[in-house]
């Protein structure tokens, strides 16, 4: 019975005929609960930049902005959303996003980044079903084409996996419940932590003596997991158990009949009872509300900048969703659409709530982020920021094509930061690493919130690469602007390129004044004007 890898097919129950599509439901619920005026719908320029960043991962170029602003079709936003979701950039960007969410930039396990990313990209290019992907990651043994999904299991550290499964798939930060019942969240028990742990305890890595590859195997479960609170003396125990579900009974087998398959090629015998396989079977299912709620909450967060439950991993009774009905509808429809991430993204993007301006409604001084009455500005990931800077300054093509000679000495990144090495990076990968080091959160920490940092601002102020990109060369933005005489045209090009919008009168005047004042050093002045836009909040945030 435990061998059966049972794929639970979700019902194909869609909404009743004639019922409003999800994006309308989103707006209905948000509006009903608004309690005050909402921001107007975003301008085309504002929407265009936002949706490009959210779906395709970077800012648009000047031609794209012009074309979109000139497009008079009433359907252009919906058409754009569909074409972006079908693009290569979407798959690449959401590979970044999911990878960062799932691995939190930890270097894990034997699967290479390339294999892992190819797996995620392939998933995003097709119909990305979150239940299937979750199951692949949890069940991975390394044997079939889902070997790449094994990356999530890392090196099989049981505690890391327990914490990550709870946090990333169930919205439960159970770290504090490892050593005792959670002190402030009544419903989170130490037994929850150890119940999940019991699913993973038997999992370990083993090397096949023939192909020398590392696989994940399960050893024989010998009994329940014992645990004890640091505050109490009595010992408790549990078998595998999902939060809110009954405990799995660990079966006993006749001696000699505990295994399905004998040991082979250096891999141990395969036990009949394989709890991790049961976890993969029973966790990503529609009946598991923790799983479904967590999934819709995380996708909602990625698009809207704030989770219905926030923080994302504090999903419990004491921290209810801002819009309980909306969460219920999102969950129901996500299940009805077979956990299709792309479908959910599309519906959110189509909603007016997503498309609101980040400008406050008239006469309103501040709006709670949890009301979604204005668009909530989002952080750009380090990858987004790098590409956006390169694109804005017209250096993208040249820099992404940079490669080091195979025999080149390894770039001394630490030396670059400490100033002990004058050498500049010679490849895009090295530059990307510099950006990750500066703008990414430390490995193991979620990249949820916008965290401006002293070091990050110092970098944008003084980094040699950034300064170099603002000097005129290789047909980049500043060189192009240097060839234009009319300040109006300069301003237009610069604002379209950096901020993806046309300049306003006041901004044009500022630019004119600055260029006049610096007439003898025009190229440098153009670089400084572009730098000011590049370091502005408007550029730095996805608003």
């Amino acid at each position: 019975m435990f061998r059966a890898f049972c794929l639970i097919l979700t019902g194909i129950a869609t909404m009743a005929q004639g019922a409003p599509p999800l994006h309308r439901e989103i707006d209905r619920i948000i509006n009903a609960q608004a309690g005050g005026p909402s921001a107007t719908i975003s301008s085309d320029a504002e929407f265009f930049r936002r949706v490009q960043l959210d779906i395709a991962g970077t800012i648009p170029d000047t031609g794209q902005v012009r074309a979109f602003l000139n497009d008079k079709s009433a359907q252009k936003r919906a058409q754009l959303i569909d074409s972006l979701l079908a693009s290569e950039s979407f798959a690449v960007h959401w590979t970044d996003r999911l990878s960062t969410m799932l691995l939190e930039r930890q270097a894990l396990g034997k699967v290479t980044d390339g294999q892992w990313r190819a797996y995620l990209k392939r998933s995003m290019q097709g119909t990305p079903r979150w239940d299937v992907m979750t199951r692949q990651m949890l069940a991975a043994t390394g044997k079939d084409e889902s070997r790449a999904a094994m990356k999530f299991l890392g090196n099989g550290s049981h505690h890391r996996l327990t914490e990550d499964v709870a946090r990333l798939f169930l919205g439960m930060n159970l770290k504090c419940a490892k050593c005792h019942d959670h002190p402030s969240v009544k419903e989170w028990k130490q037994a929850h932590y150890w119940g999940l742990y019991a699913y993973l305890k038997q999992t370990k890595q083993a090397t096949n003596s023939k192909d020398k590859q590392v696989y994940f195997v399960e050893s024989l479960a010998t009994g329940k997991i014992k645990f004890q609170s640091v505050f109490e003396d009595n010992e408790e125990q549990t078998g595998p158990r999902l939060p809110g579900r009954p405990e799995v009974t660990i079966p006993t087998f006749e001696k000699g009949k505990e295994f399905d398959k004998p040991a082979e090629d250096g891999l141990p015998a395969v036990p009949r009872f394989r709890p991790r396989e049961l976890l993969a079977r029973d966790l990503p299912v529609k009946e598991n509300t923790h799983f479904v709620h967590n999934a819709v909450n995380r996708i909602w967060f990625l698009m809207m900048g704030r989770g219905l439950v926030h923080p994302l991993d504090e999903m419990h009774g004491g921290n209810p969703p801002s819009h309980p009905e909306l969460r219920a509808v999102l969950a129901r429809e996500f299940v009805a659409h077979q956990f299709d991430l792309k479908w959910l993204l599309r519906e959110i993007a189509l909603s007016k709530s997503y498309q609101r301006s980040s400008l406050l409604p008239e006469g309103v001084k501040t709006v709670a982020a949890s009301s979604y009455r204005t668009a909530h500005p989002k952080a750009m990931s380090p990858e987004q920021l790098l590409k956006a800077i390169l694109k804005a300054t017209g250096n993208l093509e040249k820099v992404t094509a940079m490669k080091t000679a195979p025999d080149a000495e390894k770039f001394n990144r630490r030396g670059y930061f400490s100033g002990t090495h004058g050498e500049m990076p010679k490849s895009f990968e090295e530059i990307r690493a510099i950006f990750l080091e500066t703008f990414a959160q430390p490995a193991g920490e979620a990249e949820d919130d916008f965290l401006p940092g002293l070091n990050r601002s110092l970098f944008l102020m003084n980094d040699r690469l950034v300064m170099h990109w603002l000097e005129p060369h290789d047909g980049n933005l500043v060189q192009g602007l240097g060839k234009i005489q009319d300040p109006g045209k300069i301003a237009e090009e610069m604002y379209l390129s950096v901020l993806a919008r046309f300049p306003e009168e006041e901004e044009l005047q500022t630019l004119k004044d600055y260029l006049e004042k610096n007439a003898t050093r025009r190229d440098a002045a153009l670089g400084e004007l572009a730098w000011a836009l590049l370091t502005s909040t408007e550029f730095r945030l996805n608003h």
Binding site: N173, K175, C176, A177, K178, C179, H182, P183, S184, V185, V230, P311, E314, S358, L359, L360, T366, V367, A369, T374, H376, P377, R414, G415, Y416, F417, S418, G419, T420, E437, Q441, P442, E445, D449, F450, L451, P452, G453, L454, N455, R456, S457, L458, F459, M461, N462, R464, M467, E507, T510, Y514, A524, E528, W531, A532, L533, T535, S536, T537, L541
Partner: protein, 428 residues
């Protein structure tokens, strides 16, 4: 909610979240004052407590430094010499500290648990608290969190170390990257503190004025928090750039350099003095390779003077400047070194009985604490675990470790091991 002077440390969950938004990475600095009620902020600034941790990575041999015991079967070959405290002897390898022994205290009965490096460094620098499933901050990050910056223009935690520097988040543990450290690799600040040669001060001011103008326009009709935080991070960056003189070692006095020594640890301890004078809350000075498993005696002869001379100079200089009373100095390692001498005439790791040197900020002057077996190998009685030392440090800094807690994901966490107490016999 309790309103202790450090009430912010036990703030609510929501409070925690908004702080994360307002503060930048390592930005204990700016913004910090604004989080505290005005009265509390003043009180903390008034306290003006500072810390300098001199960390000898590995272990300094207690026999060759603070606890020579020449009659022990485990003694090395060096002389033991008189100190300025009658009846107390140090090794001849620490002559300068011997002369100022009456200004410092030595705990000779540290008894910790971990004999391994891999876990020893973080366990000791985190104070080895009860495992609560979270990664505790190292001492510097903890003090940055609990006290904030002493001078709001400067990061609260600066780490001077050989090798590379930069902004290092990992010491902050669950406190989050903003409580990490600004590390000065070989005493130098990260390259990004320097304006590139192509940008003059005038141009820098002009381009920042353009940026500010753009931000004012953008923020005029928008929710403020992220936008303000972003602007604040630039203010902090400019403040730090304006104070980069404190990192410039060409400014150091030639006589001082000679008194502290020209080796890296000497230069770095002198630089630490400078940063303390400038108002940095916590300075850690690292020296690596104090792990003399081989040739311990030839190495100790060359290594130990490298901490002796500059440490004694630092004590004297801080006293001359009236700073010793509010500056806590700690000289320590991961563990001591084995009494038994191995085949390579080295000493291995020894957590069972070792010495820590403390001075200033409420530490007794001339107290030599702790009774060991005659051969110095073991503590007579219980000894002090690292948790006791952390209780001592926090108490001396005006933080009550019984009343102050971290709040993480709704969980209330002791700032130091719950079963430990301050070491009263070393405190004034």
């Amino acid at each position: 909610m309790k309103t202790t002077p450090h009430g912010h440390a036990c703030g609510s969950l929501e409070h925690d979240i908004s702080r994360r938004q307002v503060l930048g990475t390592l930005g204990g600095a700016a913004g910090f004052g604004s989080l505290l009620q005005p009265g509390i902020a003043e009180e903390i600034t008034k306290q003006k407590k500072q810390v300098c941790l001199i960390w000898l990575d590995g272990g300094i041999s207690q026999y060759e430094s603070w606890h020579p015991l020449p009659k022990s079967k485990f003694a090395g070959p060096f002389r033991s010499i008189k100190t300025s405290i009658p009846g107390v002897h140090f090794s001849e390898l620490v002559p300068h500290t011997a002369r100022i022994a009456h200004k410092i205290s030595v705990i000779r009965t540290m008894a910790t648990k971990d004999p391994n490096h891999s876990t020893g460094v973080p366990r000791i620098q985190r104070g080895d608290p009860v495992d609560r499933g979270v990664e505790y901050p190292h001492l510097g990050s903890a003090v940055a969190k609990l006290l904030g910056p002493a001078n709001p223009e400067l990061p609260p935690y600066i780490w001077i170390k050989p090798g590379n520097g930069g902004f290092i988040a990992r010491e902050a543990g669950f406190l989050g990257a903003q409580y990490g450290t600004l590390a000065l690799g070989d005493g130098k600040p990260p390259i990004h503190i320097h304006r590139p040669g192509s940008i003059s001060a005038e141009v820098d001011a002009a381009r920042n004025a353009l940026r500010r103008k753009a931000n004012e326009r953008f923020s005029a009709y928008r929710n403020a928090s992220e936008i303000d935080a972003y602007e604040t991070s630039y203010d902090m960056a400019q403040q730090l750039m304006a104070r980069k003189d404190i990192f410039d070692d060409s400014e150091l006095d030639e006589k001082d350099r000679e008194r502290y020594g020209s080796h890296p640890l000497g230069r770095h301890i002198l630089q630490a003095r400078r940063l303390l004078e400038a108002g940095v809350r916590f300075v850690k000075v690292n020296s690596y390779h104090w792990d003399t498993h081989g040739d311990n005696f030839n190495m100790s002869q060359r290594l130990i003077p490298q901490v002796d001379r500059p440490f004694a100079a630092l004590v004297n200089d801080l006293e001359d400047r009236g700073m010793l009373d509010h500056t806590l100095l700690i000289v320590m390692s991961e563990f001591g070194r084995t009494p038994v001498i191995n085949s390579r005439l080295g000493r291995d790791h020894w957590p069972d009985c070792w010495s820590v040197v403390l001075a200033g900020c409420g530490i007794k002057r001339g107290a030599i604490i702790g009774e060991t077996t005659a051969d110095g190998a073991f503590v007579n009685g219980e000894g002090y675990d690292i948790g006791h030392l952390f209780h001592t440090i926090y108490t001396l800094l005006g933080i009550n470790p019984r009343k102050t807690h971290y709040r993480y994901k709704g969980q209330k966490l002791d700032i130091a091991h719950g079963d430990c107490e301050p070491i009263r016999e070393v405190m004034l």
